[in-house]
Structure formats: structure tokens, C-alpha cells
């Protein structure tokens, strides 16, 4: 089963506020704040969950395994998630 944003909104609705629109605003705003922070290359650290880090990747040569053609993979910025110790432990207990 896949849990989607709507499920999280429903959780917020049931446990915190009964108003759907309010719950949706809260969840969307949390996501917006995190995305904006990462856009500024600022890492997001959530204790007990993990942190999202922005990393610069240098350009490198890649190869299409099918056609064996070489091509350059351009320089890029990526978001990497590092799960916290607590999260990893919970997942394996």
C-alpha cells in the first residue's frame, strides 16, 4: 500500500484539527518550508527522523550500457536523505 499526502492530511484532520482545509494548509506549508530551505542549499534536520542535505555533484562521464555510447553527465545538485539512528533502529526492531 502506498501512503500519499492525502493520508497524512487525514491524519492531521483526525488527530489535530477537524477542518480539512486547515489540515491541508498545514501539511502543504510544512512541505513548502522544507523545499524552500533546500532550494537555498540549507540542510533540513529533523531529530528522530533524519536530515536532508543538498550536495553538489561534479560532472562525470557516463555510458549508455545499451549503446555503449559515452556522454557527459552534467554538474548537478541533488538532495540526499540520511536517516537518523532512531529511525534506523525502529525499522530494524
Amino acid at each position: 500500500m502506498t501512503r500519499i499526502k492525502e493520508d497524512i492530511i487525514r491524519d492531521v484532520m483526525n488527530r489535530i484539527t477537524l477542518d480539512r482545509k486547515y489540515a491541508k494548509n498545514l501539511v502543504e506549508t510544512i512541505l513548502k518550508i522544507m523545499k524552500n530551505s533546500l532550494e537555498q542549499s540549507e540542510e533540513v534536520m529533523i531529530s528522530g527522523f533524519g536530515h536532508f542535505k543538498v550536495r553538489r555533484k561534479n560532472p562525470r562521464m557516463g555510458r549508455n550500457p545499451k549503446t555503449k555510447e559515452s556522454y557527459e553527465i552534467s554538474e548537478r545538485t541533488v538532495v540526499t536523505f540520511y536517516p537518523s539512528k532512531v529511525f534506523r533502529k525502529e525499522l530494524n526492531s
Binding site: M1, I30, I33, T77, R88, L91
Partner: protein, 108 residues
């Protein structure tokens, strides 16, 4: 940005839509929502479910088999037990957002 700063920022932005005007009440709701958000993701992942948040990314679980690893400091061989790890894959919107912004030189 730490969790406490995320909560503070949420309280500020709640002016746009919150019914409450009392700052203490808003902070309480913001804190509970932020905690519930991350707990909701963790709970799903613990159950082996996938979490998909459009525009932000998805979380899945990856199962790793046991292997013989090495202590990088001492070089000693160690047996690593099978384990599960959460994996995050950024969504298109987030990927494009960080790539569009002016890349900063990595601090040395």
C-alpha cells in the same frame, strides 16, 4: 534548518490561514502537526509501505542482506546483520528547485 525552526516558520505562515490568533495555540498546533507528519511517514515505512508525496519525494524501504564488512578504522572484519534502511527519492519539483538555484561552492 532544525525541526524547531521549521515549527517557528510554520507558526509565522499560519497567519495566512489559521483560525487561532493566540500564538501559544498556534505553536501547539504547529508542533503537533510537524511531529505527526514525520511520525506518519515513519509509521508507513515501518509497515513496509511506500510513502509518496508529490513534488517532494518518496520514501521506500530497502532490504540489505548480511555481509562481511570492515571496520574502516582498524581494518578488522565484521559480520553485518541483514538490515532494512529507508530510502528517499526526491520528486521532480524538488529536484528541479535545487538545480535551478544558483549552485554554491562547497565549503572546504
Amino acid at each position: 534548518m532544525k525541526k524547531s525552526q521549521l515549527i517557528d516558520q510554520l507558526v509565522k505562515e499560519m497567519d495566512e490561514f489559521a483560525d487561532e490568533t493566540n500564538n501559544k495555540q498556534k505553536t501547539e498546533i504547529a508542533r503537533e502537526t510537524v511531529n505527526l507528519f514525520f511520525n506518519s511517514v515513519k509509521e508507513a515505512v515501518r509497515n513496509g509501505d511506500r510513502v509518496e508525496i508529490r513534488g517532494f519525494g518518496s520514501f521506500t524501504v530497502k532490504q540489505y542482506d548480511a555481509y562481511v564488512g570492515r571496520n574502516p578504522k582498524t581494518g578488522d572484519k565484521v559480520q553485518v546483520q541483514p538490515k532494512k534502511l529507508p530510502v528517499f527519492r526526491p520528486g521532480r519539483e524538488l529536484r528541479d528547485m535545487v538545480n535551478r538555484s544558483v549552485p554554491k561552492k562547497k565549503k572546504k
